[in-house]
């Protein structure tokens, strides 16, 4: 697909650049990485609004250029496929995020509220608005259908306790992009003790998400 895209950059006549100049191929590679990470991670990852915006711009460019191509030209259907594929990956990525936001909504909102000003945001402003509306909508519903008819001391539910948290101890497959040394692994059974592993570049592992969570956000490992 990278080949098709470098062809597309002929059509698109140059790419959008924000701070770094990224070729369309690099942009799409980054999108696919973010997509896979989000798909396989049990918790919501950092939001990548810039990436989403760039991909949308890229798609718009490609669509515009497609309009100019002669109808029935073979290249047109290949580029059409490419646009559809990129759009699928982007949609799937955003869907993954939305599903996690809905599933863990009280925890997601709590995390966003309690983060320090300098820390990266997990939710885009639009996702944050969506999450707040989801919480309000659900609370209003539960109150009107049942809670307000209950005895006075039972008319509220603590959402943080009622809605399950993401399971950070689930196992994930990963591929190492940057060599890591001295990763502390927790014991699985009572007989084991905690031990330390080195992760070699290019190697693949199956580990608890919790152990390698910081490596996912830093980009040192890729979930697969």
């Amino acid at each position: 697909m990278a080949d098709g895209l470098s062809d597309a950059s002929d059509l698109s006549g140059g790419e959008e650049s924000q701070e770094d100049v990224m070729t369309p191929a690099e942009l799409i590679a980054k999108l696919e990485e973010a997509w896979l990470n989000e798909k396989f991670s049990p918790e919501l990852l950092e939001n990548k609004s810039e990436l989403v915006e760039c991909v949308m711009e890229q798609l718009t460019h490609m669509e515009e250029n497609l309009q100019r191509v002669r109808k029935g030209d073979m290249k047109a259907s290949v580029h059409r496929m490419e646009i559809d594929r990129i759009r699928f990956v982007l949609s799937s990525y955003l869907r993954s995020r939305l599903q996690k936001i809905e599933r863990f909504f009280p925890h997601v909102l709590e995390k966003e509220k309690s983060r320090a000003d300098g820390d990266p945001s997990f939710l885009s402003p639009e996702e944050f608005a969506f999450a707040k509306e989801y919480l309000a909508n659900t609370e209003v519903y539960l109150r009107n259908v049942a809670l307000k008819h209950m005895p006075p001391n039972l008319q509220s539910i603590d959402m943080l306790k009622a809605v399950p948290e993401p399971c950070l101890d689930s196992f994930v497959f990963l591929r190492v992009k940057e060599r890591q040394e001295n990763i502390l692994v927790e014991p699985e059974t009572d007989e084991q003790r905690e031990y330390v592993v080195d992760l070699d570049e290019g190697s693949q592992h199956l580990m608890r998400y919790r152990t390698i969570a910081p490596l996912v956000s830093s980009g040192a490992v890729q979930l697969i």
Binding site: M56, S91, L98, E102, P151, L154
Partner: protein, 196 residues
Amino acid sequence: MFCEKAVELIRELHRMGDGQLPAFNEDSIRQVLEEMKALYEQNQSDVNEAKTEGKSELIPTIKFRHSCLLRNQRCISAYLYDRLLRIRALRWEYGSVLPTTIRFHMCAEEMEWFNQYKKSLATYMRSIGGEEGLDITQDMKPPKSLYIEVRCLKDHGEFEIDDGTVILLKKNSQHFLPRWKCEQLIRQGVLEHVIS
């Protein structure tokens, strides 16, 4: 025994696998709420008696009734929340307009929740990427081919595709159409993907 009706509600949902939405069981919910009212009032009077006459032997009963109240609250909340999850899935499956058979199974407040959810989702999708947005309820499967063979399952009238051609979707007619245009109609059951 207390809480039986509440547990029955849970069992009812558990029986209907596959995300189906059974009719809203208003009767059972009302009965559970009445049981909760009765338990609470009994507890109120017992608590008063225990306080004024020092009858501390009432305390285990009070605690027991309180546990039942909590269990009822939990069961009802679980029943209602699980239904919301099923209703949410309907938006992704059927689109913005739900089939009438399903709507009959929803109470007014669930309909209201669904409408609010639709609105939130639409606002969010419109905001993606900063221009016209992106309909992420489309493109649910990776694209395998550009055009697909579809058969029309019911009369749907005229249908326009990108290059301006208008197709008449009559029952049993077959067409070779762009895949991305057909997705939603396939999910709604208007078209059927013919895999030769």
